[in-house]
Symmetry: C4
Subunit: 252 residues, 4 copies
């Protein structure tokens, strides 16, 4: 079989689109943010990607139907600003080769539809619960830094120490070296112990400003508070916490 298979669900005409990528990862921060964008902006699915670099697995919907593990790209057309694409997925590639192949494939497809800018979202693990999570940034070109700082993104020296591992970093690295596409990585602080909407909200606040989005964050703020209450209670009881539910299922 082909190592990566693309299913073009729709073929919209796009106007200088910008991509936001949020795959599962630390604290699931990136995915929660990206998923919220897709839901609240009522984005439509454009592509499904299947690959032998994903786990050999199907997920089961509530009605008993199976769904092969995939990555998907959604789109939203705007009248007065660049169109928006969002990359969502059930899983990152589980192999190093796959990380490169999938990222390179997606970038090739994005280049075809003239994507000029990429925002990848991720979590930055602090190892402890953070009251007021920061949003850390990393860029493909240093002159992108000043305007991000104005939007509240921080660039602390030496953080994250080991660089960025996985698709959030690799999409930017390959975009810079091989596709001449600019990009920014936005990392929301999180304990990393559970699916954490708090860092996701902070990232969305930044994105909302940068991309001038009409986005109501109330729902996610409510969910975040619920989780905070549960984890707070559990912390007091000194027990490990494992949430469940459809939206938070990756780490539940």
């Amino acid at each position: 079989m082909e190592k990566i298979i693309l299913n073009e669900v729709r073929k919209p005409r796009l106007k200088s689109p910008v991509l936001v990528g949020g795959l599962p990862g630390i604290g699931n921060v990136g995915r929660i943010a990206a998923e919220y964008l897709v839901e609240k902006l009522k984005m439509k699915k454009m592509w499904d990607l299947f690959s032998q670099f994903f786990p050999p697995q199907v997920l089961i919907k509530e009605n008993g139907e199976i769904n092969l593990v995939r990555n998907s790209v959604y789109y939203k057309k705007f009248r007065d600003k660049p169109d928006l694409l969002v990359l969502l997925g059930d899983s990152q590639s589980t192999t190093q080769e796959g990380q490169y192949e999938i990222s390179h494939y997606i970038l090739t497809m994005l280049k075809n539809v003239h994507v000029s800018m990429i925002y990848t979202l991720g979590g930055y693990s602090t190892g402890r619960i953070v009251e007021d999570p920061r949003v850390l940034g990393a860029v493909t070109r240093k002159d992108l830094v000043p305007s991000l700082k104005k939007s509240g993104v921080v660039f602390p020296k030496g953080e994250p120490g080991g660089g960025i591992v996985g698709s959030a970093g690799l999409l930017l690295g390959l975009a810079k070296e091989m596709f001449s596409i600019d990009g920014v990585c936005l990392m929301g602080e999180t304990s990393g112990y559970f699916a954490d909407p708090k860092g996701a909200i902070k990232i969305l606040v930044v994105l909302k400003e940068i991309l001038d989005l009409d986005l109501d964050l109330k729902e996610l703020q409510i969910k975040s508070k619920q989780i905070e209450e549960i984890t707070g209670r559990i912390q007091e009881e000194n027990q490990p916490y494992s949430p469940s539910g459809e939206d938070l299922g990756y780490f539940g």
Copy 2:
């Protein structure tokens, strides 16, 4: 070498065949059920599949002859209903890439002989010994659910939680997305601690009805009771159990 090598042992003319797949897995439930079908229905071998995605291993028969690890497809022709194919094997692929490649290859071959429906069999691990195992279902298309429910298959919300991993799920996921073949996964409950014919019997009861098979389950019921007695005794003696013998060898 070719990554997958097919040896066509026989080339029967098949009439709208249905496939039942039972490879080694949790409690070996799927394989026990499929193997029982092949033996009791005196099915003939059609294909042998060898592959570098299988363990680099030969098995040794009682007469000292070696046999390269393989997957095989058996067939049975019927006068008055769709012909039956059964997929059996010594092993699933041991790599993620191999899981995709093998499943995709088998589906390509099945499409060539116009298979229209696939039933994959597996175990559903409960982590404890089950008195009366349920048969859980998952489908490629939701309108397959009602008739399965009538045959006693259950679709409990949120089970199995993590989806279906391995060939039982992947064959269906690829069948749905890339081959337009319908499919059902039947999962028999099992503790998962030993090769477990009890769940296999329950699956066969369902299959017997769906496929209108003339199948005597007595032999498997006797074997199941023997195992129950042994494991019951061992549980009392509080010792780990490890059965042996040709039929149950995978987990023995």
Copy 3:
């Protein structure tokens, strides 16, 4: 680079040659036996095989020269009987894919020079020190069994239980299914705890008879006794044993 690279050191004209294969493995039994054949029969090197399926490593000779890890085939021409080939090597492939690719490649090359029979040598781990090791057999065709039994090879029911893993088994499995070459696996019992010439001697006694070889086993018997004395002493002192030296280096 090519995944497997053959360097033809010499191109002898061979007469219906027979191959004996002894790569590193359990108790290093097969390799010790094969290496002794090459040395005592003063065999010449015919092929060197390099591959990315071998460890990324060079070995260092006493004079400081490096040698890339390899498998090699040696030959000896006889006037009155089939010529002899011996497969020796620094390592088996370390990956499953590599095990298949290397074995298949070697068989393709052997078929080219009309090899009609393969003997693979290996160890059979007993987990305890054996006074008088047996030689167990496995064959590609059951009518090879009787004459092997006459030469002292045993075929105990259910042994080895899990089949044969690695090149000793795979060479025969692929030879049988894809090359129509007959083969025998000879397994010398060994504790498996150290490089063990004792089982190798027993295998060579069998091979000497089957292949009608003029082979003096004295040297290996002396080495075996030395090791027995050391390991015996160590057993008494109740300490783990780790031999060293050029010949026994794989497990030392």
Copy 4:
């Protein structure tokens, strides 16, 4: 994507160049030495190599810019002696296949620019802190030994016991067998517990003589003493040591 991608930053005309290779490894000895050469000789970058055999990772510079993990080759032209190339990198390949592919690829490129001699640098782990580290050697051709001995390189019998694992060995092994390029491996003794400039200095003393380089080692000697003081103090306090900082980051 291509498995290995070369970016030719500059295309200098080179005169019978010699390569020095120092990738991350034991005690980071090879990399520290090679990096010091590049800095002190003000070498210019010639090639960037990206590959799916490297970790799927970007590193972050102090200004917030990301850099895709890579290997690079730098050059320095001399009037009166062979030009110098240095191979530096963020990482070795993390897979066995990748080790072979990357080394083979680099050798192919080096052959194209007529490299006639390769020096690979590495650490030789002693497992304890060494007062006066030796420089051990290994060669592709034994007549390279005498002149190396004169420069202080030692070739102790049986050391390093297991040969040389990774790119320092493989570059030489492949150079010898497939490219007819001569080579030497220089291994500086190190405890292997931290990034260790002490062994690197000893290697550079040897290289300086062999390649007749105008190289001031003072800076590295100062850094080495600083580290010695810190590790000495820590040893006294009986605590594990983990240095940090840009230059020593690999093992920090």
